[in-house]
């Protein structure tokens, strides 16, 4: 990307859908995906005049999105921690043992019911990965970013991206091979 300024409309046309899909796979539902992607896009638009085009705009906006998402997950974890501590102190628990991802009840992602089950299963397995693994898999498989670009988004060396991506895939494979989770 050159130094030519990008208009906001152009920027949104090029990136909004990509960012939304990235957010959809990171969060696992459309409501949170819209919230997260809009948050990231508004931040990106605010910073757009200062964007110098040293990286691809998509890489830049992905980094913003992933960082915003990680912040949300962290605050959600904190909230859940205090909720658990509080409930523990008063002698009760709501039965939620693990940190849930930001979810909401949504209609099915896809109309095609045959693929829907598989997609659900894969998405569920994705959500069981930790944030770093999930981000690396999503950036590679959904956003189709190269190792170098993934490193730029996540602030990692290319070699680290390579080994972590392998590890994440291996975990995902294990999750998908669990009974009732055959892709």
């Amino acid at each position: 990307m050159g130094s030519n300024p990008v208009s906001e409309t152009e920027f949104l046309e090029q990136n909004a859908e990509l960012v939304f899909n990235l957010a959809l796979r990171l969060t696992g539902n459309r409501a949170d995906a819209e919230d997260l992607s809009q948050d990231a896009l508004i931040r990106a638009l605010k910073a757009l005049p200062g964007f110098r085009g040293e990286s691809m705009a998509s890489t830049w906006v992905y980094r913003i999105t992933v960082n915003a998402w990680k912040n949300r997950v962290r605050s959600e974890k904190r909230r859940h921690f205090w909720k658990t501590v509080t409930l523990g102190l008063v002698g009760g628990d709501d039965g939620e043992d693990e940190v849930r991802d930001v979810k909401a009840d949504d209609p099915p992602l896809d109309a095609d019911l045959a693929k829907e089950e598989t997609a659900k299963m894969v998405q569920k397995s994705l959500l069981e990965l930790d944030e770093d693994d999930r981000a690396i898999v999503v950036l590679r498989e959904i956003a189709e970013k190269s190792y170098g670009e993934i490193g730029a988004v996540l602030g990692l060396a290319e070699g680290t991206v390579k080994s972590r991506l392998f590890r994440a895939r291996a975990k995902l494979k294990g999750l998908l091979e669990q009974p009732g989770k055959q892709p």
């Binding site: 909004a16 899909n21 190792y147 390579k162 998908l176």
Partner: protein, 427 residues
Amino acid sequence: MKDDMREKLSAYLDGALTEAERRDVESRLAASSDLRGELESLRAVSQAVKDLPKSPLPAGYIARLQARRARARARDGAERREWVLLPPAYRPVAFALSSALVAIVLWDRFSRTQAPFQMPYASVKVIPQSEAPVSQIDFSNRITVGKDVSATPEAVKNDSRAKASLESLGFAARRDAPTPRRAPGQPMEFAEDTSMAAGAPAASTPASLLAKTKAGVQMSEEERSRRNEEFIMGLEKEKRSMGIAQVLPRRASAAAARGASAGGSFGGSDMMMLQASPEPEPQALASNTPSLVSRAGRAASKRLGFGGSPAPELDKAELSASGERLDYAAGIPSDDAGLVFTDGNSLASSWVLLGLPGNYPAVDYWSRRAVLLKRSSTKILEIRAGEESVQVYFRLLSPGEASDPTKDRFATIPLEPKPVSLLLLPR
């Protein structure tokens, strides 16, 4: 299978190997079915994620985004405007500091002095004994009657012994003030002393001033000032003529300052008010204008029974003229009356009104109050005021007998937060 090899398979899948690595991996894949199986399973996992459906933007997504962006801009603008004043993190500190400052200023402003000025009579109430509030506390053991000024209620607990001490030592001996005393036998009353008129500066007060005052004619500032001055001088003369020692408040200098300023001004307003009312003894006033003040006070004191003799008939017109604020129009018993002291101003004004001798005492009446009830058989000679108590010097008057200085008494009245009625009677 080594993880190193599997990692390479993962990278091979992504086309992320160098040419040499790629050739190495491919040769190994050709030789190993396990490796090929591993590659396929990794590819299946990768493909499964890749196959997740892409979603178009939800309807209205961009419109919602722009609306949200507008809200965020407005919020950012508001925050930036607030930041011009102070960063939010510092606001609690700033609030605490400014609150403390305000509190200090208010404390400094109001903690030292009471309200500097109150309307005279605002809290004065002249009451008959029958209407005096009855104290729920029995003060008979707390009121010290004795001779020694420094006597405290604790020091003199036995009433009979105190009385005996008083009688034996003679109260009059206490008075060593160089003020002229009346000859024994002469009634120590507010009797008219015609000798005062002669040579007194106030004697030169033109009768026309008085007439003007009585008629309610407008006087010039100078005339009013002169008249008031004469009134005050007359009061002082009257006091001296009666041989009354100066009141000695605890803070003499402060009291002197107050007496000079507040006492003067209140006295002036008192006098004007009394003067404006019909005077029952016009002849006496005309003949002895210098002591108009004390005579006016005397008139009041007589009406209220402070003269030591049965009061003359109440002048209803006069009472009603001043009764709006003083509220004694309902009728005052002929021989008993009282004062309620609730603050220095009320004390000062009632002091003048009732013709009590001496300067009014400086008493810190912030919340304490004392009700002084005086019988016609007693005469208040002097009041010494402290912060915790008031000492009242009084003389017992026997009807038909000459005033006897040996019958002087004093009573120490503890000031109480609630009204206390005190009867100055022989004990």
